[in-house]
Each structure stands twice: as structure tokens, then as C-alpha cells.
Amino acid sequence: MHTYTSGGNILAFNIIVLVKQIIDIDQIRNDPKTGEPLLQNIPLRIENLSKNAIEAGVQLKEKSGGKVTCIIFGTDKANAAMKEAYAMGVDEGYIIKGYKGNNPQRTAKILSEKIKALGNNSVIILGNQSADSYTGMLPGMLSSMLDIPLLGNAVSIEADGNNLKVKRVLDESDEIISSPAPCVISVTQEINQPRLPPVLQIMAAGRKPINMEDAKDEDVPVPKVLSNLAPKSERKREIYEDVDKGVEAVAKAIRGEIR
């Protein structure tokens, strides 16, 4: 392990990446009659932005030294995801079992307790919004529960001594912001291209031990799901393979709207 030294002090980051395992939402089909999502036999995968988070953590270690620890709050099926994280360069992994579905308050409590247990001065890296539920709550919640600054929506991370510098992308502007560690950094898809690990690393990852723990019960409110169905589409679906007829129909339909 290579460490970053500055003025005689060893400044190696304690990098923690938070990874979510989700069902492969692209493979979900809905029952055409009831509109219910058919979830049986759909494989699990690492959530896309979690891969960006792993890559960002490993790149930070490669440049500035330190150690990358991965935490997955998931189920006993999360081993495959952790092995993938190991193959990408994660040094140590914890799977906390007991994920019971989308509940950011519960997830943030469980993750923040584990992060505290792992020690101080950590740089916590996670995706800004996961592809299945899209809540976007975790970065803010964790920064609040851990009482450390949030460098959110990062498209780049640079370390300078103990300082982390991030390019944050907003609708109206791009900002360069910074904070010393410890801090929370949420990343976007644009930050990097997650690496495809070589076969040897994948094999080595398979032999690496994974720490398994059980989540404590947290007393948090759980919303009642009234329904979760495919949106009804009431489109006309007049499809023309004859271009001229199609153009005529479209022109007629939209002419009144474009004036």
C-alpha cells in the first residue's frame, strides 16, 4: 500500500464506498393483464452509480494512498456484488444483512452506525441517486447523521493533502468546492468509467473473505404501499407503416396544437 506523505505526517485516506445491490430493473416486465411487475428470477446487480462510487474510491486510493472499505446494506445474496467490488480494487468488505426494501431513513441509520464504527477521518463515497428508487436522500442524511460536510453531485474528485476538492454540477452552474476529510461525496454517472477487472483479479476476489453482519432493528416509520403497478398508457397507438398516410394523419392531429 502506498501512502501519501506531507510534512512528515502520513495522510492516508480511510475511504469508504457505499454500494447498493438492486434487482436488474432493465429486465423487469410487467404482467400485461394486471400491470404488476414480474420480479421472480430476475438477477441482482450492483446499482450503476455504486460502480462509479467504487471506481472513484479506488482511483482516490491509487492517487493518494489509503484503504478502500466497501459496505453493502443488503441481503445474504450480496456476496456476488462484494466480490465484484473486490475485483475492482476494494480492500475490505462488510455486508450488513437485513435490507427489507426502500427506506432511506433506516438505510442511513444503519450505514452511519457502521461508518462510525469503522473510525474517524473517513471519506465516504456513494452514488447520488440509485436507479431503482431514485430517492436521493442518502447523501444528505449521512452528512447530517455523521455531522460532516457533503460534497454532492461530483463529476471529479481531487485530493490535496487532507483536503478533498470536487467539481459539483448544478443546473445553472458548475462549482469547485472543497472540504477536509472527513466528508461525504456523492457522485454522478459522468465522474468515471468503472473498470472491468482482469480475470486474475476476479479470481483473487473470489477467495477474499467477506465480513458478514446483521442489521440492528431501527425504529423508523414505514409507508404503506397502496399499489405498485405499471403506469396505464391510454395512447391511441395509430401506427403507420405507409409513411405518406402517417404524415397526413400526424399533420392533421397536431395542426390545431401548433398554431
Binding site: 426502500n102 436522500m137 444528505g140 397502496l226 409513411v243 402517417g246 396544437e257
Partner: protein, 296 residues
Amino acid sequence: MKFLIFAEDSKNAGGIASKLRDSGDVHAIIMKDQVEASSSYGIKKIYGLTGKPFADNVAESITKLNPSSFDLLVISSTTLGREVAGIISAKQNLLCATEVFDFTLQNGKIVTKRFFYGGKTIMEEESEAKIITVTPGSFDPQNGEKTSEFEDIQLPQSKVNLIETKPKEKSSTNIEGANIIVSVGRGIGKKESIDKIMPLVEATHGELAGSRPVCLDYKWLSEERQVGLSGKKVKPKVYIALGISGQIQHIAGMRGSKIVVAVNKDKDAPIFQESDYGIVGDIFMVVPKLVEALKK
């Protein structure tokens, strides 16, 4: 009832206020430069934030107004808004319903609707959430009668240091407010082909938009023109999808359109299932014909 809104801009503050004001008093916290534009939406009290907003100092300012004394805190779900919602929800231990595009208040509870599984389903939930984040553009701003009181709030110091701000080039793009949208996907093949689409944009007096690959991956169009779950949610009178396959994430961004027209050379493209009118054919052959037909 009493509501508190946090939105960065006047349109979303106004949209949420229009949805809420018949049920009670609406207070809103917005950026100072948006205060004037927000004064016509029947908001009882408008707080204008001055200074540089970060997630922590905005959350602190909202917390000082005691959000739990309101029946509901509604936050416009921008990058900053989501961060602020997370901080307040954690700090005040208040349940937050997220990325809501519609909601109703009933008997002290709230029923919220959001997309789930990446847009494959709509999840309807009932909870006692005291905070909700609302997808921008979900509600139309309509003028209200109540006159507003004003107060400025100076944002406190953030724990985050700002080194540099680069404003993005101001463009006149506002696809969220457009009546007609001509939207292009990967099927146009290359950036230069956009020129061939422009006559249709002009003939329809529309705005040009694009799918995620076009705006983010290939950067043929700027990010602010991206329609989809991770981009802008639009609801024009006419949405014309050219060479867009119709991934569910895209559909989630344009589902509110009144009339959807799709042109795609693949007759099995999922976009046709979400269209009122579809033409199976080459975009570059269809577009000039359509321009011609619209001139008649």
C-alpha cells in the same frame, strides 16, 4: 393547515403553491433573485435567501423556521433540494416521501405517487410523511389572489468551501414550459443530423430536446435539453420523438404529454406503445414530408 415550500426557482415554488394554497397558508423559501417572480402565486410569506446556498446552510435556515410546526414541508427535487431534504429529514427525524409527482392530503395522512423500479411502475404510498420532495414541473404555476409578505434570510456560513463557480452559458431553453417538443434519440445517427431536424422544430414553433444518450453520452445536445427520469420531465401539447427507442426512463420524462408522435425505423420500438401516432420509417425521409404537410 400550514405549508412550507423550498424551491430554488419561482416556477416550481409557484407550481407547488398552486397545488397547496386552497388547503391552507403557504410559506415559501426561495433564492432572493426569484422572490419578485414568485409574488403572484398567492404565497402568504416569501423568504428570500441571500448568500451562497449549500445543502448545509440552506437546511440550517429552513430548520430555524421550525419545519415541524408546519403540516408539510415540500421541497422541489433538484440536486440541492434532495440534499437539503435528506439533512432535514435526518436531523429532525421526520419521514420524507421522495420524488413525488402527485399527492393528496387526507385525514392527517398523505398519499403520494412516485415512479419505482426505474420508471417501470408507479408506487402509490400512504404515510405520515412531514417532508416530500416533488419532481420539478409536476404542478403548473397559476396566479393566486393572496398578497405576499417578504422577509430576507442571510444564509449562514457553510462547512463547505467554495473555490470557484462557473455559470453555465445562459440559454433560452425551457423545455419544461414548451408547448411543442421535437425530441431526438440515438436514431439520428450523428450530431450534424440535428440540422435536418431543425425545419420541423421551426415549422412547429417547438423546442428541441433529446434522450439521455444524445444529451449525456454523446453530448450532441446540452444537458438541459435532456428528457427523462434523470433529466427534465415535460408535458407539452405535442411531443414528437424521432429515433427514440422508448426506454422506460425516457417515457417517465414525457408521459404527461398530450399528444405523442413517434418516428422510428424499427416497428417493434417500445416508443410506439407510448404513442398516439407512429410512423415506421426513416426519420430523414419523414421529417421533410411532415414539414411540408404542416405548411399546407
